[in-house]
Symmetry: C2
Subunit: 465 residues, 2 copies
């Protein structure tokens, strides 16, 4: 469809319903708004940017845009990895970062009510001060909670605690036509008609704009212990994972990392990881309320790994030792990014039983294309992040090789009954792979849901399908 271009009357309207210093157009639009963390997927400069102050403003913008056929792309902290918050069809970018208040911590219902622009790190610190925890823990702590909900972000602790979806109890949503709805609420359960909140979670801002979230929180565990487990080869490393999961106590996290990624992170941070001489590592995290109980659990897990060929099992049970490991784990993405001239990323998730085959295949691709391909991630969930790095390649050679590797990765994942994205979403960058590996009927259902919510296709168009 042909969208209306934003003109000076539109700008005047936007200023009228908000404030002059929160509306940007033309040269005043910061370059940052043209991309997320992956400028590699293209830069798209919006026609206007509005920094939203409240739901009423967001509703007014949507009513206006709906009436005038102007596309609107909601945007959080811009830390996405698939271009989901980028205005590929032009129009207005609606920045939610100013709506960053923690509105209520309700200790009786164990919920926190927040605006969408609240950063994960702020939420974490505020809750920790009260002995509380919001379990989802994506690597990027500068992400906004609205963006986390819109991509159904996962993170390290998903294995034990689940993903963002499992912690969103209620949402206030501005619909494409400007109506405001409440989906869910503070209740722990809900079987009252279709779960609208579950349709919005993971919808990447294409069905509505989230202006408030009610999140489930838990009392923070008292004790955390990590095991860093070096293996001589990747195969035996990955083959230990199902055994760890079958053992009685579910670990909070089971992360996989290779020496090359650790070295990149050491270089990036200018400090040493406690161990980096081995080929491949598992990093286990356990949490709980009793040191004795945890000790039995992690000793058993260490033994399972030793039986699978692990070279050692280093225990980190103090805040300092935990930080030495996790501080480095948290910068893997940034470290790889800074090590390469350019990079592409793949976030497939496969059944855990297929992970060994998938990682072996990555090694084959590395050999075939002679590319630096790094990978790390959530082994316990079968969700490994793969980074293809451009080092000294010509434009054409990089484009060809990278494309072949990506096709290979998504193809292999589909063969293993995997999914295109475990936690980053589809955005516009992964659309071809979702289409290429999904049943046409499923894509058609998604399209019909989109049409039901947004018949004029003005909200974040050009995404997912």
């Amino acid at each position: 469809m042909a969208y209306k271009k934003v003109d000076k009357d539109d700008i005047a309207y936007l200023i009228g319903i908000s404030a002059k210093n929160r509306v940007f157009f033309g040269q005043d639009i910061k370059e940052d708004y043209s991309h997320d963390e992956m400028p590699f997927y293209g830069k798209f400069i919006p026609e206007a940017v509005i920094e939203i102050a409240d739901a009423k403003e967001a509703a007014a913008v949507m009513r206006y845009a709906y009436e005038h056929d102007i596309p609107v792309t909601p945007r959080g902290a811009g830390t996405g990895l698939c271009g989901g918050s980028v205005a590929v069809c032009g129009g207005i970018v609606m920045s939610m970062t100013g709506m960053n208040r923690i509105l209520e911590i309700d200790e009786n219902n164990l919920t926190v009510t927040v605006e969408p622009g609240v950063l994960l790190s702020d939420l974490k610190n505020t809750l920790a001060a009260r002995g509380l925890m919001y379990p989802p823990d994506p690597g990027e702590k500068g992400a906004s909670i609205g963006g986390n909900a819109m991509t159904n972000a996962g993170g390290m602790r998903a294995l034990k605690y689940g993903v963002t979806r499992d912690y969103v109890r209620g949402m206030e949503i501005v619909l494409p036509d400007g109506n405001i709805v409440e989906a869910g609420g503070k209740t722990a359960k809900n079987s009252s008609g279709y779960s609208l909140k579950d349709i919005f979670v993971g919808s990447e801002g294409t069905l509505g704009i989230v202006t408030k979230l009610i999140l489930k929180i838990i009392p923070a565990p008292d004790h955390f212990v990590s095991l860093l487990i070096p293996f001589g080869d990747t195969d035996s490393c990955i083959s230990a994972v199902p055994d760890i999961l079958k053992y009685k106590t579910v670990p909070t996290a089971v992360e996989f990392m290779q020496r090359e990624v650790i070295e990149a992170a050491e270089k990036f941070l200018g400090r040493k990881f406690p161990h980096s001489a081995s080929e491949a590592y598992l990093l286990l995290l356990y949490d709980g309320n009793s040191a004795d109980e945890l000790e039995k659990t992690y000793m058993d897990a260490a033994q399972i790994c030793i039986d699978k060929g692990a070279e050692d099992a280093l225990v980190a049970d103090t805040p300092k030792k935990l930080e030495e490991i996790w501080g480095i784990r948290d910068v893997f993405l940034e470290a790889i990014k800074s090590s390469a001239a350019e990079m592409d990323e793949c976030d497939v998730v496969v059944p855990v039983s297929g992970l060994a085959v998938f990682i072996k295949y990555i090694n084959e691709l590395r050999n075939i294309y002679q590319l630096r391909i790094l990978c790390f991630g959530h082994a316990g969930d079968g969700n490994i992040h793969v980074y293809v790095c451009r080092d000294n390649l010509s434009d054409q050679s990089w484009k060809e090789k990278c494309g072949s590797v990506m096709n290979g990765l998504y193809g292999k994942s589909a063969e293993l009954s995997g999914q295109v994205s475990g936690e980053h979403g589809i955005g516009h960058a992964k659309m071809q792979y979702l289409k290429g590996t999904s049943q046409e009927s499923c894509i058609q259902l998604m399209r019909s849901i989109k049409a039901a919510f947004d018949p004029k296709n003005i909200l974040n168009p050009g995404k997912i399908f």
Copy 2:
């Protein structure tokens, strides 16, 4: 819309795609198919019943029905409580109970793949024999897993483990037009477009017919301990709940029960409950892998309750003692049913902080209307089941009083920011309350989703909205 009536040509077609002994019509249709566990909400005799053998058959029926405008109502074990599986618009009832095979237990991915007609009790026993557990635990163990998914059933253990939605990873679904889609799969996470499986879960068979489910399972815990905690009055009983939840270790279950319900169950089963002299009880369940750890936890929980005025705390830590308590808990619904000439039911869920007010209000209604109103349920989730009993009332008096009580209950729940159903669903019996307490925009969104999936409104019409 005007549906086509089932005639002998349609019956011939149904027999042609299945088998003569699995298609029923006219006098051959069992009375059971005209209602679920609540015949109180009306009996609707379908025009035909087909007992489905596989997805292909279900698809053939739907293609035919779609083409000929015949309504189809899928039905599991018929243990629903809101008429969700009853053919209120006539047409064909599609019974899924014959599709009752456990297809695969995948210990490496910790999933079980089942047909929808598998009963909870069979699933539980089969998994237990392998040291595995499917955590959701609705009271009705004779329910089918397909029905559980379609109502997003909760149950006792939802507090610690979550509800059915949290355990459905993948579904095979026959769409209203007969297309078969796969939503989700064996992967632990998924951010690949709209979560179709989360739209189907809780949709009460109005968007598609589930013909296969992939469920997450866990290694079964080794130790279970229950605490039965008597209180002299309901107020102090309920006021202990938030304190129990805020304590570090989340209980597996926090059930509330009143003396009257226990007495009804004792009478029903002909055996005594370990304690029934007090006004109100909390029944706590903890599970874990270490007896020592559990002991510390339940001792602390008992102390919290004593501080809130509990009269005692009885520990049940052997299979026999656990069965003495939970065996009676499991028959509460049946016991109440058998104690009353007729009854109506309410399954609202309120934020836990509002539970005390809600239960106090139930007592007020009891006094105002001089009706026997019994309640019990999942106090830890704010999800209490309320049963209004007809004893010796005239038709008119019962109808009036029961209606007033129900209006009062749903009104009070809405006032407390509750939801119409915590786990039983809406069916046709609770439609008026969903409509009465929901935003019009939300109902409109649900309608538009229904139209997107089922434009001819032939799949389980007359339900939810």
